[in-house]
């Protein structure tokens, strides 16, 4: 049945996230971006919301709720409307934990999931993106070779969220002959694995509130149980589709932030004797933002809905991510233009969202919720 109606519980979660984004995320976004740091108390505060533990089975100390890409889409949009970098920092552990929930063997779940059900923020992350031009998740260069029962990983990763403190990384690598994502598997690499080197935090165009790092994997040896899902492995295509959809929702949140900032500004700012919002050139730009924020959101919801049903969402996730990336860039660009010179000044958040839109638009896979 085609329906655009969130459940009552989803409405409650969405409302709570909106309030948290307004009171706890947005106010610290600029400082965190300028300093390139996530405040520790923010991580602890967000951890208390149970963002990561809610969808972990009760047997491992979690909330036992069904994994819902739709609920996650609602949560991510709200948090990203506060600040995309901080939203991703708060949720980075889920990049690791959720694939373990979905594909992990019982032993892997027993060992790893309780880490995310404690009282304190526990960092772990996903390593998908690789350095070099024109990164594409279907053409990974990091490889996993069989060695006896186990595996040997070689390659390089970058844009790994919270790499400075993650206890484990889920490293995606080519592990066989197949074509594209069919050959890709995920490997659980502990921080202290021999041959793993973690860089200093990366310096980026945007998203500086989210510390990221690069990984160098020099013949990292893993036991047989190092592969997510053991002998069964995991469905890398689904992981990438989840990631693309989630990335789309982050871009919806960012775009909404731009729109909600530009509207009151344009009503307040006067030129030639009246508010600039009363000029059609500005008013229509704002109307276009409103149209596109809706369109973007429904595309991400459609992809999330297919993922929730467990059916293939390759087309929907791709269209949602690429559409959202294009539109978010345009909305942020127009946002700068509506504010004029003030859009260029770091006193306003618009220039930050402009940089974030470009950064997020080219990221793949760092938000595989």
């Amino acid at each position: 049945m085609i329906s655009f109606g969130p459940t009552e519980e989803q409405e409650i979660v969405r409302e709570a996230m909106r309030e948290f984004a307004h009171s706890a995320v947005r106010p610290i976004a600029r400082k965190s971006e300028e300093e390139g740091l996530v405040p520790e108390d923010f991580l602890e505060q967000s951890w208390q919301l149970g963002l990561v533990s809610t969808q972990i089975p009760e047997a491992y100390g979690g909330g036992g709720e069904a994994r819902s890409p739709i609920t996650n889409a609602l949560v991510l949009e709200e948090l990203a409307c506060g600040d995309a970098g901080l939203a991703l920092a708060a949720l980075a552990p889920a990049l690791f934990a959720m694939p373990v929930v979905e594909f992990g063997t019982e032993a892997q779940q027993r060992e790893l999931l309780p880490l995310f059900c404690g009282d304190r923020y526990h960092a772990a992350s996903l390593a998908l993106v690789e350095p070099g031009p024109c990164f594409d998740p279907i053409g990974l260069r990091t490889v996993a070779e069989r060695k006896g029962d186990g595996w040997v990983l070689s390659g390089a990763k970058c844009f790994v969220p919270m790499a400075d403190r993650a206890s484990h990384f889920l490293v995606l690598a080519r592990a066989g002959e197949g074509v594209g994502l069919e050959a890709v598997q995920a490997f659980i690499v502990p921080r202290d694995a021999a041959g793993l080197e973690i860089s200093e935090p990366e310096k980026k165009l945007g998203l500086n509130g989210l510390p990221t790092g690069s990984l160098a994997l020099e013949r990292v040896e893993l036991p047989a149980v190092g592969r997510l899902g053991g002998d069964a492995g995991c469905d890398a295509r689904r992981l990438v589709n989840l990631s693309r959809t989630a990335l789309g929702t982050v871009l919806v949140g960012l775009s909404r932030a731009v729109m909600e900032y530009a509207i009151p500004y344009a009503k307040d700012r006067e030129a030639f004797g009246e508010a600039i919002a009363r000029k059609q050139a500005i008013a229509f730009t704002l109307a276009d933002m409103r149209i596109e924020v809706d369109a973007m959101r429904w595309l991400t919801w459609k992809a999330a809905s297919r993922l929730e049903h467990g059916v293939d969402a390759t087309r929907e996730a791709h269209l949602a991510r690429s559409y959202c990336a294009r539109q978010a860039m345009k909305i942020a660009d127009d946002g700068v233009q509506v504010l004029g010179g003030h859009g260029f000044i770091r006193e306003h958040p618009i220039e930050l969202w402009y940089r974030n839109a470009r950064t997020l638009g080219v990221l793949e896979g760092t938000v595989a919720l």
Partner: protein, 392 residues
């Protein structure tokens, strides 16, 4: 629950609609080139197809709402052809207005007729508050006397009657505008012309003259003769009709755009270009990438249409959303059909194929039922909290 999966019952209906649509498509070129002929309501190849409405028997609560389904159904029909649509039922735009604003007696009396809607005049289009046509009450005979001209009346030649906008008091501005039901054959009601158009040629577009046209007093749609005191109160009621016709018009355009996309996908494949989503910039041709952009545009626009219809199914206001989907779809279908011809190349401009027809047919989407600019004006006023005086 947020959901985008069609149920088996939904799919059954849409499959049947597509089957019919393909039959209609086989007649599309003929009626494009013979614009003086009216396509029949029944086509021989589809004689034994079950009537569309019969497919709606046995709907379950978990099936998609009727408003949303009617958008998908409409798009499915125009995917076949805009003009050759079978069993479209008696339903001009005037019927939508009758359903929205007519009294029970009027519904009873006029519901069985196909009614066109006449708003536009030679001197006013996007701003219907400037309607010049007048309606004067003749107390002696209890009749309204209509005088004025109307143009761009969709299916105005074929319709059996019309809902026409006229002012009963020019000094009252928008509040003085009322709609009237006029039957074909009323004295002084003249069909004065038929337009020759860029596209949708098999759908007639009429011009009317009302020359001291007399109609019974009871033909005032909704029956309220008084002029509301608060500004534009009555006018707003008339404008409400658009909350369902705008999504429908958007859906009509998107059905055509989808046909263009399907044709283009096949053409690209024939030329050896794969258009599967997924591979990044290094692995994908520019043509495939452009095609996927157009596909995303189609999806995005279609979802805004379904959203507006869904709100209506829920009994929620959808004024803003119907403008959003109309604006989005209007722009999207232009870009999609223009882009498809660009991708297909010279073959796309040939009248051997229907792509050039779809490109012409779809262009009206961003104009009628309010241009894209008018929709943006409505959206902007809404999000800025401005009235018509603050944002013109």
């Amino acid at each position: 629950m947020i959901d985008f999966m069609l149920t088996t019952n939904d799919q059954k209906i849409l499959d049947a609609v597509r089957r019919e649509a393909l039959v209609c498509r086989s007649y599309a070129r003929h009626y494009d080139e013979h614009e003086d002929e009216f396509p029949p309501d029944e086509l021989p190849e589809a004689g034994d197809f079950p009537p569309t409405m019969s497919l709606f028997a046995g709907r379950e609560p978990e099936d998609t709402g009727l408003g949303v389904m009617s958008m998908l159904l409409t798009a499915g029909q125009t995917w076949g052809d805009y003009s050759v649509r079978m069993r479209r039922g008696k339903g001009g735009l005037g019927n939508a207005a009758l359903r929205a604003a007519g009294t029970p007696e009027q519904q009873q009396k006029w519901g069985g007729l196909t009614l066109a809607m006449a708003i536009t005049e030679p001197g006013c289009g996007s701003d219907p508050s400037r309607v010049q046509m007048t309606a004067v009450l003749d107390e002696a005979t209890d009749e309204w006397v209509l005088n004025g001209e109307k143009i761009f009346v969709t299916t105005g030649c074929r319709a059996q009657g019309v809902v026409v906008w006229a002012t009963i008091d020019k000094s009252a501005g928008r509040a003085g505008i009322k709609s009237f039901l006029v039957e074909k054959g009323a004295p002084g009601f003249i069909v004065s012309g038929k337009e020759k158009k860029l596209g949708i040629r098999a759908d007639d577009t009429a011009a009317y003259v009302f020359d001291n046209c007399r109609i019974p007093r009871g033909n005032l749609l909704g029956g309220k003769e008084e002029i509301p005191q608060e500004s534009s109160g009555g006018f707003r009621g008339v404008m409400k009709t658009f909350n369902m016709t705008r999504p429908a018009v958007a859906g009509i355009g998107l059905g055509i755009a989808e046909a263009a996309l399907d044709f283009t996908r096949d053409a690209l494949r024939e030329a050896g270009i794969q258009v599967e989503p997924g591979p990044g910039i290094a692995a994908q041709s520019a043509a495939a990438q452009r095609f996927l952009e157009l596909e995303a545009l189609y999806e995005a626009a279609m979802l805004t249409v379904l959203r507006a219809a869904w709100l209506s199914d829920q009994g929620q206001p959808n004024n803003l959303e119907s403008s959003i989907c109309k604006a989005k779809a209007g722009a999207a279908v232009r870009e999609i059909t223009q882009g498809c011809i660009e991708l297909v190349g010279p073959m796309g401009a040939s009248r051997e194929h229907l792509l050039e027809k779809w490109f012409r047919d779809v262009r009206i989407t961003d104009i009628y039922e309010g241009t894209g600019e008018i929709q943006r004006l409505i959206i902007a006023r809404n999000i800025l909290g401005y009235g018509r005086e603050e944002l013109k």
